[in-house]
Symmetry: C2
Subunit: 209 residues, 2 copies
């Protein structure tokens, strides 16, 4: 409902730090009474606008080496699995489109965690329709209708528009979070973003009391 506390979660399935936030956000937001608005977008166009062909973790060798060490520590803190994937970054246009089409479904969080786990824990491709359908089936969702919807022109255009909105709002990496107009970048800021959103939640509760 309008005015209820909400965090916007902007993510890309190929992004390793998005993976950590994807696994954490729904549970942590729930504890604070904050709703999650799942907002998939594509990092690729943003990287290309900076003249980069791929992730800076691939392009900058020293930073890339560090990131995989940092990921081991950060995943341990988050209590989630981390075998380094054999391919990085894995792209998946279809999974992004499907997450956009299904963004308000009750199973959207579970779907995103399923795709993220498949990529980063199971070390499997996430690009094919078969991969995305397998994740849906794992949730008890019949895949055919959703895969078809994700491939519609409306959804394709919707994902382009969502990526354009990311650029317009100043997003330059993933994960990013918005609480109102306040932007936070990186899994490291998820707790701060939720705390701000939770303040809004408490304010609402106080107002109602």
């Amino acid at each position: 409902m309008p005015g209820s506390p909400c965090i916007e979660f902007w993510f890309d399935f190929g992004s390793n730090y998005s993976y950590i936030s994807t696994m954490r956000i729904e549970h942590l937001a729930g504890e604070r009474g904050v709703a999650v608005r799942w907002r998939p977008f594509l990092l690729g166009p943003i990287f290309r606008s900076l003249g980069w062909e791929t992730s800076p973790f691939v392009l900058q060798k020293a930073k890339g080496e560090y990131v995989w060490r940092d990921m081991v520590r950060e995943c341990r803190k988050a209590g989630i699995g981390w075998p380094r994937p054999s391919e990085f970054p894995r792209t998946s246009m279809l999974a992004h489109r499907l997450a956009l089409a299904a963004a308000r479904e009750p199973w959207i969080g579970a779907f995103c965690r399923g795709v993220a786990r498949r990529n980063f824990v199971d070390d499997q491709e996430i690009a094919s329709s078969a991969a995305v359908a397998a994740v849906l089936r794992g949730l008890g969702v019949a895949p055919d209708e959703w895969v078809a919807a994700a491939q519609s022109d409306a959804v394709k255009q919707g994902l382009r528009a969502q990526t354009d909105e990311a650029v317009r709002r100043g997003i330059f990496g993933a994960p990013s979070f918005f609480v109102g107009d306040e932007m936070f970048w990186g899994n490291d800021r998820l707790d701060d973003a939720l705390a701000l959103a939770g303040t809004h939640a408490s304010g609402g509760a106080d107002a109602a009391a």
Copy 2:
């Protein structure tokens, strides 16, 4: 002494996130019985090796805009001042050289905080001998001998060697921390680095008990 718990703090006076760690590290390390080894180095050569003329916060407009907003929040968390400096990044070869020459002096932490505060809080240049001398005088240290030492060939060569060592050990940004061979990047990881160093400290205490 050898084997006593220690954190290496690699920093550049021009780096805004180094500023936050500079203001925090000595107090936090002291609480855990961890010694700080101050290791100034130059980010410039590392940025240039990546093809960058200056800080990525200047080169990448969206990221740069975000960083100043993030700095306000992070400085508030750290309880330190933050008026956005009118010039960024401010370079100071002399301050780096002096911090190298004086790295084992009891006043090294206070000196680094003085330079950092002058740059980021007082919004004043830190490049001239007069600026560096003013910081030293504020600590009750007679500046002439130290400024002369900082300009010696041995110290100039020492700072180049320290920057080479940074590259060799995989440093790509500042602040960075080492606890033994374990590297941590960014003010966001200072607490984790100190926790690891503190584990070593506890181990030593147990062994001695």
